[in-house]
Symmetry: C3
Subunit: 486 residues, 3 copies
């Protein structure tokens, strides 16, 4: 059955043509897996990987290339990028490597494997906060306490709610779904297949496609977080739905803010006329309103070919300030590994509870200015200088004011802790502490994202100023009531 | 005026062609109604109903057919499926049948009418929870109390809020908008039309397109809930926007969860390249990421034609567990008519307040296993066995933990009722009871849907674990405060 | 570089053709700005403005025209509508007019400038609530107090939260982002450009595209609020994403309600087959489900050419009742300038706190009936008379019941003010007052929009009846607790 439709031309090939060469090993994979995972195989057949050999890809002009490595191994150059080409790389490093009918296969393909052809992207990504997203939660004792507090199942003992501890499954289902899980080989399991039994590595914390996944080869990240499944489509990565998988919800409503912006209005109305495959991506000619990728990642040129912004796979590299308050905004960290940071109070946080930045771990004003000028340049593709300056002046005012609001809330919370109205041993588990958290984690973040990307509902009524001013007063009232009751 | 554009070829016909034959009666309908409801008539002109006669439809191979009845009456076979063909069926059973310029017409077309050509679908649907959606609320005294409590207008008497009773209009505007209303003939009304007066049946609780509508012919359901208006498009039903009409919001955020999943990411980015009309629907070839219909309803085959899942119009038929807690998760009910259920405490609920299932009304473990294997087979079209097993293991863990959280909340609530801090006569009308409800109705449901369909925001911050753990403690604190105040 | 791609044919022109004439001044703008703002220039190149001269536009039949002025000045008629044509109009009135390399240019293009060609639209808009959206907030002392209360940054003094005043930047970032800011020239600034220094007007409260913006020429409004940037696409304005920019969120979830309606279901599934450019817009032929524009603005005809509704740019002109309660629903105001209104209690509100309408400022029952009949006519394009009447009967019931709920909440709040439990000097700044506000601003509004446009989640669980009935009782309980504590 499988063979029948493998003779169908691949989407890139003319009818009657066979398309570019496929390795013998990949052909064997396809022979069975087109029966076992027909959707997966079809997905790959729609990818560039199935239609272009690295050799052909390297013939493009450097700026138009989608492969950045100059030195792709000869064995990979002449065949399309099939199952075997990716799932067999660096086998010695892969604890998930196994014998599959006399071929050595890795279950998980990691950024270290993709790096063989996509070297620059892998290197940029490796230094980013995204690559370290799991460790930045799990190795930071403050954030680890936060994760545990939020996700711990509870039970009633003598009428009191008692946390019973957060399970790995629930952490994988919540925080680590985006941040990435630690995928480990914990044994083997045997499955029966038509040609005979297969002994497979048994993986813990799997499946997971979080962006900071720890892989069985020791590498960090999951390229499929943004280049999903086996089509590896640049169109998918460039559209905002990819980023929305994680950057949404009351803590980080970036996608919701985008959705209510004029940028998204134009995107939704007109995107089907745009060119989603063009590399480099030409402002105004290929697209006429930005998506997330335009401002944060893609190689942009004018219609005439001037480079407006170079490509980056460190998605914070164009950002000077981190709007996501912990609890205050701060200059972007120098290293993607933020678990290293210690502020003046010895906490692993980029600011103290009074707002002092841990400056030695953060980029300096000169680097901030350089990045801001780069981003403003992207804006100026479509807006004039006055417009852009006015926009960022407003954002700066909003950053200052929301940080002031966080300071007021944090001072209130400090008073409550000092007065014994809450227990600061875990600062995130009591209802009063959750109220404080929502001030900076939900409302201040939402307002700043709303300001930065022009989504006025999120500055106003949707986890915006209405909530920020309401709940600051409620926090005060509740602390007073608790003090009185005590 | 009408005649002018009726001579335009229908979308399915070549220019100059008249298209397949239209009955004399339908032609008369069109002559007037193309003036009175031009949009409605155009909608029908874009449907398959206007372009294909049942006779032609039956010539297709069984698996490609969209009609499932083998025995369509001769009178209907040779003409397209027009106004008269549907609105005249089974007139004797239709209390809404009336004389319309010497033709007998039913106002409402019901599933019993659609059954003439779509027998299998109508039969499957009739046994489903959807067909019984109105009775499952209205005939179940517990859920009836819930509906009344939520939707009752109130007034102030001596400074106290007093419920004044829920009106039929408000129930139709809220719960029954999705569940369906009871459409009844309550008299006649006369309207003036160009050719003369028309005496029409006057309908109560109309309009309504709820999926469990009670029709004037005694049948249950509204096919237009999912096959909207007069285009009856399979494309519309296959896209997730159809299901989103009801399966959204804090109680059942299925659509929102889908939207943040990788499945929806791919759907939104690439769906315009897919084939939305193909029957059967070929995984990977016609679509490359699932919509609701793929997993829950459609006939799926591989590109080569192997059947991966048969079509069903009982949308729970592939489900083994009901994630929607009442208040706990439970095995799917055997019958779509869930008002029959009685648990060990005599309540019309599938579980007791301590979590014991009403097993004799629920499918047994063997049937659960059969259904789970079928659904896993759908997943395995694109994912390997390890992936799929790991995914469902995680879901099972989440089911257990959220049920434990519901149990803790319910024990707290029981204490409050026992202590007279709330009145259990209607367990859904007081603020304290609403807090308890939100634990299982909003947060636990949201988390489980988020886990099942990989939407990590809904397991975390969007009516997720953050709320579940916050509000359990708040519930405890509030009960303590009320006890103290008392 | 710029010149290179200016020789590319504009999208409307055949290859090899130059397209219609461009003025010398506009050509000079393009020479530089295609380098400086390549995206902006490309946007314009995709507009009708760049492809059609007013002279050509006027040759269309009146009903098909997109220009409504009969008397377009001769100087503008023969060239396409380029940079200079719009940015040079009415210079004497523009305080933002400046010398730009010997050409006089206005920074801001205003409705008074667009009026030169689009006279009817500008006149209709000028009388609407939208044109007065800024003044309706800022000049109304009650709403001004509301804006200040919501957006004021605060600080802690002696453990008390003290409002420190709302900044202009924050008001521009929140309420005025949609309502419009007051754009003023406050000085000059000099920027360096390649051909030499440019002295530009320095604008306060800029950028802003709020629909009621006060422009430097004294006019009100921003056409770009809905016809974004330099493509001025009718397709964009007709799609619901344009309206969603402002009409969303818990206070006015019109877009969210639309999204869950059957209308939006059909729109999302099928819109790519529709004709978004056709004028007039033919029901059923060009589109098969309404968007916001269909019901509230566009010129609609049947496929045969009968006018079903004339075009209007006063977007309230087809509405008889204002569902947005202040705090109660009321007949639509006669004038778009609602700051003029005084109710019987002397408040600048369309109803008193007991629900009495300020009738002399509101349209009368006859005008209400006329508008309702017009809107019902739009509905009857696709639905029969019974259906439409039943729909609006249900809405009327919901209006009455939600107003009753607002009355109960307001009576509770009056008691609290009278008892000194809250301070009515600013009725919007205390937590208790915010609870009261949410009853009418969030829940009652949401329910009515949900009823009007058939979005049952927003009548039920999403800021719907569940919240309305829960929080009314909570308001009572909280007032009692405060009274007791006092």
């Amino acid at each position: 059955m499988a063979l029948l439709w493998l003779f169908l031309p691949r989407p890139g090939a003319e009818a009657g043509e066979a398309g570019p060469p496929i390795s013998k090993e990949t052909q064997e994979c396809l022979n069975c897996h087109s029966d076992y995972q027909p959707g997966l195989v079809q997905d790959w057949m729609h990818s560039l990987h199935s239609r272009v050999t690295p050799e052909e890809a390297l013939k493009k002009k450097p700026r138009e290339r989608r492969v950045s490595s100059e030195t792709i191994p000869a064995a990979l150059r002449g065949v399309v990028v099939g199952c075997y080409e990716c799932h067999s790389l660096n086998g010695a490093k892969h604890k998930d490597n196994f014998d599959h009918f006399d071929v050595r296969i890795n279950v998980v393909v990691s950024p270290a494997d993709c790096e063989v052809c996509h070297e620059v992207e892998a290197r940029e990504f490796a230094g980013s906060k995204k690559a370290h997203a799991l460790g930045n939660l799990a190795k930071n004792p403050v954030f680890h306490a936060l994760v545990e507090a939020i996700t711990s199942v509870a039970e009633l003992r003598d009428g009191k709610v008692m946390a019973a501890g957060a399970s790995e499954q629930t952490k994988n289902d919540t925080c680590y779904a985006c941040h990435g899980s630690r995928v480990e080989v914990v044994g083997t399991r045997t499955i029966k297949a038509e040609p005979g039994d297969v002994v497979l590595p048994k993986l813990a914390n799997w499946p997971n496609q979080g962006v900071g996944r720890e892989n069985p080869d020791g590498s960090l990240g999951a390229c499929t977080a943004c280049h999903p499944r086996h089509e590896f489509s640049i169109e998918v990565a460039r559209k905002p739905f990819t980023c929305s998988q994680c950057h949404m919800g009351p803590d980080v409503p970036a996608f919701e803010v985008y959705e209510e912006s004029k940028h998204a209005n134009i995107f939704h109305a007109k995107e089907r006329e745009w060119n989603w495959e063009q590399v480099p991506w030409r402002v105004g000619l290929d697209f006429r309103a930005p998506t997330c990728a335009v401002c944060h990642s893609s190689l942009l040129t004018s219609a005439g070919g001037d480079v407006l912004a170079p490509r980056t796979h460190d998605f914070g590299a164009r950002l000077w300030v981190r709007l996501f308050g912990l609890p205050y905004t701060h200059a972007q960290p120098k290293s993607g590994d933020t678990a290293l940071i210690r502020n003046r109070d010895g906490q692993p946080l980029p600011t103290t509870f009074t707002g002092q930045p841990a400056s030695e771990y953060l980029i300096d004003p000169k680097e901030q200015a350089r990045r801001q000028e780069l981003m403003k340049g992207v804006c100026r593709s479509c807006h004039n200088r006055d417009w852009v300056d006015g926009h960022f002046d407003k954002l700066n005012s909003t950053i200052r004011e929301t940080d002031r609001m966080t300071k007021a809330a944090t001072e209130l919370m400090q008073r409550a802790w000092d007065a014994g109205l809450a227990d600061r041993s875990n600062p995130f588990d009591e209802p009063l502490e959750r109220r404080w958290m929502k001030q900076w984690l939900y409302y201040a973040n939402s307002i700043r994202l709303g300001s930065a990307m022009s989504g006025p509902d999120h500055t106003s009524f949707q986890t915006g100023w209405f909530d920020l001013t309401t709940h600051l007063r409620e926090l005060q009232e509740e602390i007073e009531a608790r003090a009185k009751a005590k």
